[in-house]
Amino acid sequence: MIARIQRIRSVRRTENSSNSAATQVKRSVPFGPPPLLEGDDVAAYDELLARVSEGVQPNDILEEIWVRDIVDLVWETLRLRRMKAAFFSANAHESLTVILRPLIDDDEQVDGEEIEGQKESEEAIGNNYLAKNWARRIPAAVKKVNTLLTQANLTMEAVNACTLSNNIDMLERVDLIIAGLENRRNFILREIDRHRESLARRLRQNLEQIEDADYKVVNTKRPKD
């Protein structure tokens, strides 16, 4: 299995060097390229593959195929969960703009502008300016947002809830994909169980045949005196 992992790695290196992984369909018997997208951590994927392979100890090529399937499915599930979390963080300032709208009046918005000391065109006047400064983690803006939320008896949960309600269709779709991936993983685990049972049965039959061949009938009759 280790040799196989090294082979996959070498294939991947070749793919990366030719820089055409995404432009044409490539094949490498028997696994195909790993499901890595731009920005994915190759080392983390390799580590996951090595750890699962070590834990499962595949007995034959079919089990190796299943192990690779499971690793790919787990990798995709983890990526989707990571993306979902990142999506909430990336969209927090937009939701914050919505949450802050009734909590803030025009004078305070101008204060928000002064936080950064940037006076731009009239487009700068908008209640999303404070949220943008908050997203840039400017301390004064963060403090002001916290104060405003506390005064309104709100927390960041409200911001996340706003993001969720605005993007419920997209996030529901992601959850469905995750559920599908998990189902597929469970199905493969069941297949490994069934295959191992069949392998064990085969081994048992072989052993019985070997034992039968070695078996000799011993004459237990007592010799006559």
Binding site: A21, A22, T23, Q24, V25, K26, R27, V29, P30, F31, G32, P33, P35, L37, E38, G39, D60, I61, L62, I65, D72, R82, M83, K84, A86, F87, A90, N91, S121, E122, E123, N167, D169, M170, L171, R173, V174, I177, G180, R184, F187, E191, R194, H195, S198, L199, R201, R202, Q205
Partner: protein, 191 residues
Amino acid sequence: MATAARIKANRTNARASTGPKTANGRARSAQNAFKHGLTLHIRFFPEFSAEIEALAREIVGPNAHAEIEGLARQVAEAHLDVCRVRQVRHQFVSSKMKDPLYESQSDRRAKCKFLIRVLSRVFRLKWPKISESILLTKLSEYLLTVPEGAEKFLLILSQESRMLLAFDRYERRALSRRKSAIRALDEARSV
């Protein structure tokens, strides 16, 4: 109503003028309806035959019975089908991720509407109070703002869901074929 002479003339003209003429053109137009080839069985792609044989041999070893070898070939075909679907899906998502101007259709429509509004104001000489350069900078900034990172990935998943669901369906079918083939192989081996 068209006369027989007119129909004949139309047919003759059509035969003389439509469609590609050269062998290259004909070969290219023959692929016009080709999307991803996932509906076709892998046996129709001769470039996979060596891989199928190699994988089948790896599954059952060199001196297997002909029946077992046939079943192993079915497993190999089904598995390479699974790989093929995954590669096409991966390629599809990667290409969308690499598209620098990928955005949601609603955003694109909103931008078009906004641009039309701005241009109509410009033509009616109803400039806003800000200067021309600031307007152009803001406008280009707005038009070129597209989702990135996680937002882009999730947008692709939701916006391209029809295509991705189709890939899922192909993968499920290939996985089911592989499962049946492996079970048949295991059965045959245990007899």
